[in-house]
Symmetry: C6
Subunit: 288 residues, 6 copies
């Protein structure tokens, strides 16, 4: 929950600053660039403006166009594309189902940010694919229900693999880390567990100070640690069940989206919406 990064208005202003030195094509809407870069700090935006200019120059354009900015956003936000990387067909399919799972759950949860792009092109370190969500507005507060939706989206990839292959892979480790982190904060920081009650254990950020006693587990008892673990596991187990229900219902869409990804590697929001309008009759399936 990064509430002190520049908001959409702030990002637009920062972009305007950097754009003064550029010749922009009339199709460039910096407000749209700002809308697509929620979470970016000043340095990221400077980087994006720079990358856009370089991209335009490399293609001998007279002015920087919106497509240059889009490419720059992709590079900066998700890392440079590594199209040269070889992945076997089996891994590709697994990644396609994994990302399709994230995307379908995101679209089925009212509070979740809408999916703007899904890709199975490996980028950066360790990322074999990605699902980009576009926040419609900056958020300062997250309510209990919204946090549950975030857990669901993170579980989408893993549950899709379980549904399709009957087993999970190592690819969900990062999703699990982030989901566990959110669940642990809900229980131990936000007072959202009725078992633990309205109590806040040490501030996770302050915990990086080396000798603060609040930075150590020692602050609370083993019994409390057990209660926290139990509640974290409950939150995550329930999220898995909710997501399993959602993706079982939407199995036809899941297969279709995975196929689409295997064929085109990248699916934009427009294509996703067309696909989601297809009927979603429940499918029979056996999962181990």
């Amino acid at each position: 929950v990064a509430i002190d990064r520049p908001d959409i208005r702030g990002r637009e202003k920062i972009l305007q600053l950097h754009a003064r030195q550029l010749k922009l094509s009339p199709d460039v809407k910096l407000s749209q660039v700002a809308a697509k870069t929620a979470g970016c700090v000043g340095a990221d935006l400077a980087n994006i403006a720079n990358e856009a200019a370089l991209h335009a120059a490399r293609h001998d354009k007279m002015a920087v166009e919106m497509s240059d900015f889009d490419e720059a956003i992709d590079r900066v936000v998700a890392g440079l594309e590594k199209k040269s990387r070889v992945m076997n067909q089996q891994d590709k399919e697994t990644v396609a189902y994994h990302e399709a799972g994230h995307a379908l759950v995101a679209e089925s949860r009212p509070s979740a940010d809408k999916v703007s792009k899904i890709s199975i092109i490996p980028r950066g370190i360790g990322a074999l694919g990605f699902t980009q969500q576009l926040p419609t507005e900056d958020r300062y507060l997250l309510k209990y229900g919204e946090l549950l939706d975030r857990l669901d989206v993170l579980m989408g990839g893993r549950v899709a693999e379980q549904l399709v292959y009957g087993e999970v892979s190592t690819g969900a480790q990062n999703d699990l880390q982030r989901a566990t982190d959110i669940a642990r904060h809900m229980v131990s920081q936000y007072g959202m567990s009725s078992l633990l009650g309205p109590v806040c254990f040490h501030d996770a950020d302050a915990a990086f100070l080396p000798v603060s006693p609040d930075a150590t587990r020692g602050e609370y008892s083993e019994r409390t640690a057990q209660a926290i673990d139990e509640e974290v596991r409950n939150l995550l187990g329930e999220a898995e069940q909710r997501v399993r229900a959602t993706l079982t219902d939407r199995r036809v869409q899941l297969d279709a989206l995975a196929r689409e990804l295997l064929e085109h590697e990248t699916v934009e929001r427009s294509a996703l919406l067309i696909l989601l309008n297809q009927p979603t009759a429940p499918v029979l399936q056996v999962v181990s």
Copy 2:
């Protein structure tokens, strides 16, 4: 409980020192400035005097007026205003109810400092709103009952959210931290738990020394740690229940104050008092 910061008389003297270099308007009462800055140290007061002078200069005033000091106090005490920050209507409403909850509980607890100002204008880092309490006098000792009142005021925001939305948000984390810290001190430092008895575990302040054995959890047993956790949870759970009763009784005032905040963003004590004189018939309500 900062008892060695300058008291009201000390603050007035420090302010007089800094005011020698300023041309003050006759309406400026440094004793009032001192009264509004309980808890400030010398550097804060120097900062306030400086900010007041700058504010007056920016408005081309011939002398520094009381309103300049008031503005300076606001800036220094609660952080610089950031009116440009965009918050969506839903978050604004949540913040309004949250601050209204703090304010109403503060007004309903005899030992709590009176509310001087409530605001939902985001300020500083992480603060989406604030409720400013004006201590009538410096305090050196806090009795058991006064500490319970402090817990209640801190719980006010969270409980207001629960009453109105049936769920809490991440916005109460800082309140919970401070309440947990007070409750833990009551149990393990001030001997205020009948279960633990008149015993004092390590001094929390000394705990920052790196190698002192008293700085580690190791001083007491797991069983004692469990007892401390239980008592802390009891203190916080009971505070939540007391506050729920208070705010359920005052639901009409809560709604009115939240509306007032959404409309004007800031409510001064004078407006608050008018609002509190409205009848407070209990309202029926269903809370999950």
Copy 3:
């Protein structure tokens, strides 16, 4: 138990050394100064001699008088007076009862050092009042019963608050720390617990060495840590009960001494003794 600090004869010699440079009034008895400064080291005594000389100079005296030494002892031993500090009437009364509690328990325990002065004038950091005890001679050994008496004196302030107000305040934290420290040493260092038996866990002083294994809790088991905690709590709980009985019996004296303190802020031993000769009929009282 500081047994290597200079004893009374040693302190007198140190004072003689520093007094050579001063013109002393005939009323000055350095042996008396030595008697009042038990626990002081060489630097403290040098400081006292210096302060006495400065005090005499500020009052344009021809020679340093005994009263200058008394003032200097007060300053050095308990911190510089801060008469300007403002405390509200309620806090003052609480402090008065707190110090009266310490003083009455000290006077009622045969092994406790006699009270030479009680004050509710705030001094130094965190000290809102003080009860000065005058050791009649230096002590090298403390027996079990003498340590119990020390616990009682430390509990006197807290129990007085409980009797009078039905609740305790944050003001007893330092007393509790010192009492807990003594009780923990009795149990884990001096072999004075029949439950734990004649065993000595790590030397608390050596514990400040960074890597010694004896400096860590790890030396003994959780079960032993529980036993230590239990015995510490028993020692402190029993002290509280003994002190409650004493102060309930002496409630009339407690009220009288507190009143005296509120009126004069400082009560010398002579005034205390007069007050203690008043009859001490038990009073009826209700304590929560």
Copy 4:
């Protein structure tokens, strides 16, 4: 799971770079060298190219041949051969059975990489023999079943010793370490335990940062630690049983392969395949 090391295409390119400075024999296929060096980083490949050139020079060749590269791969991947080391006949036989066990399990698990070479010539530090597996392609994801196969291959050496001698030796320590590490990751990182559920404890890599609280055990409770230990032990115990069944079935092949290793010290894939085509009638045996 090292997914950011260069893949086969990347390795070939790196090799081409280093080969520019060498005169290569026409039989050298850098694509084959790349295929045999999965897991190598740039420095390893530079080292291999250099060793191949030196080896060719030492044998007065006009150009670097494929056999030079093979020798260089052996040296770099498994350490320099130490043919001079003396091992007694009993130890040699134990090592032969140990490596034969690894190889037979690898060949009997569909997802395991194929065995390219088995050797009982001691190499490097602590390695008394080795079984080289040739990955057919780089892998980015590993599914649950594939991880189980890896555990089986690692258990192969130990179980072979148990079957043949009725006891294990210290030689399996490194295999056990690696198997334990995989099992622990399955349970605590990849959410592959139904007992623990979809939860991820701290990132093992981040754990090397000195003061991060997530780097310590303290994050989860003793009860969770017990559950993790139990699941790890179950995974390893089940692997041992599966492997015992496999090697009991293939006992004739195990004996034949061990004999072959004792005779020739090194067995290439071609020889292994001939040996595996021999009938594998189950043998009766008694194991303590």
Copy 5:
């Protein structure tokens, strides 16, 4: 158990070396000096020779006499005398009984080193008295029974206090530390506990290395730590009972020796032996 310090022959040779530079009186027997300095290292012996020479010079002697060496041994072994220190009569009596207890137990245990001198003159830091034991020969091994005797001698001071005053004092802390240390070594280092069995936990000396895993408690489980604590407590509790029986039997001698110490401050072995020949009829006594 310091087995690599010089033995008696080694000490004599070292003393001869240092004595070459001194003019010795014919009464000086360096073999006797060596016999009285068991446990001293080279530096200590050099110090003793030097102190003896200085002492002789201060008394204008023509040669260094045996009495100068005796004085030097006293200074170096037990610290410089501080005859000027003032101790009250009550403390002196407590110390006298404490040292008498040590001495009587030492004389009643066959394996204990014989008492050469007892004193209640405070020396060095924290030592209010001392009982000097003269080892008849250097020891390299200590058997179980000999270690029990050492525990008994250490308990002698504390038990004497209990018998005479019905309570113990802080003066036994150092004895308890040493006894606990011996008992802990017996249980966890020497395999002398039948409950724990023939097992050795980490070497206490190696434990001072900062990062060795063997230096931490973590090596063994809480359950083992409990067993160690229990056995340590049993060893110490049984020693206390044995010593109580011994000193109850010898109460007349205890009183006589304490009286002798109060009168003469120091009792030499010759005086002790006369005193021990007095009849030791059991006395009736009441101990709390």
Copy 6:
């Protein structure tokens, strides 16, 4: 299990290198020197060659003889002889029985290295005697049964003391440390406990890295730590029982060997073998 130190062939080559500078007597067989120095590294061998040359020079020999090498091996391997050290008769006898116990168990275990020399002459730091075993060949692997034999040999000294004196001494501490270390490795590193199963906890060697999470106990649960402790204790307790049976059977030999050691201080293998051929009728004995 040091497998990367030079083997017998390596040691011979190193010795040849150092011998080039020496004039060797024809009776010197460097292969025999190599055979007697298993475990030595290059520096040790250089030291031995040097010591042999010095020894020869001190005895005015024309060439370095085999006896010079034997003396040098003794010095370097077990520390310089300290014939001057005085040990009392009781300690000497204890040491004699202790070493005799080691030697007899070593001779009665098929896998144990043969005893080449037994001595009760104190050497080096803390070693009051020694039993030198001559490995017949370098070992790279140790099987379960061989490790049990090692435990037995280490227990031999302690059990001999128990049989003869009915109590153990501090002299077995180092044996217990080494036995505990082997047993702990068997259970937690080599997967040799059926209770724990085929699992490997952290590598003891890697544990010296300061911040590795694998270096801390935290990796496994308290329950696992208890299981490890139990298994370690079982392994050691069973070894003690096996050894007690062996030495009870061989009591006559034990007494004879101890007598031989007391008489000659050193017993070579030849003398040992003669002694072992004496009949070994079981003796009646009473052990506490």
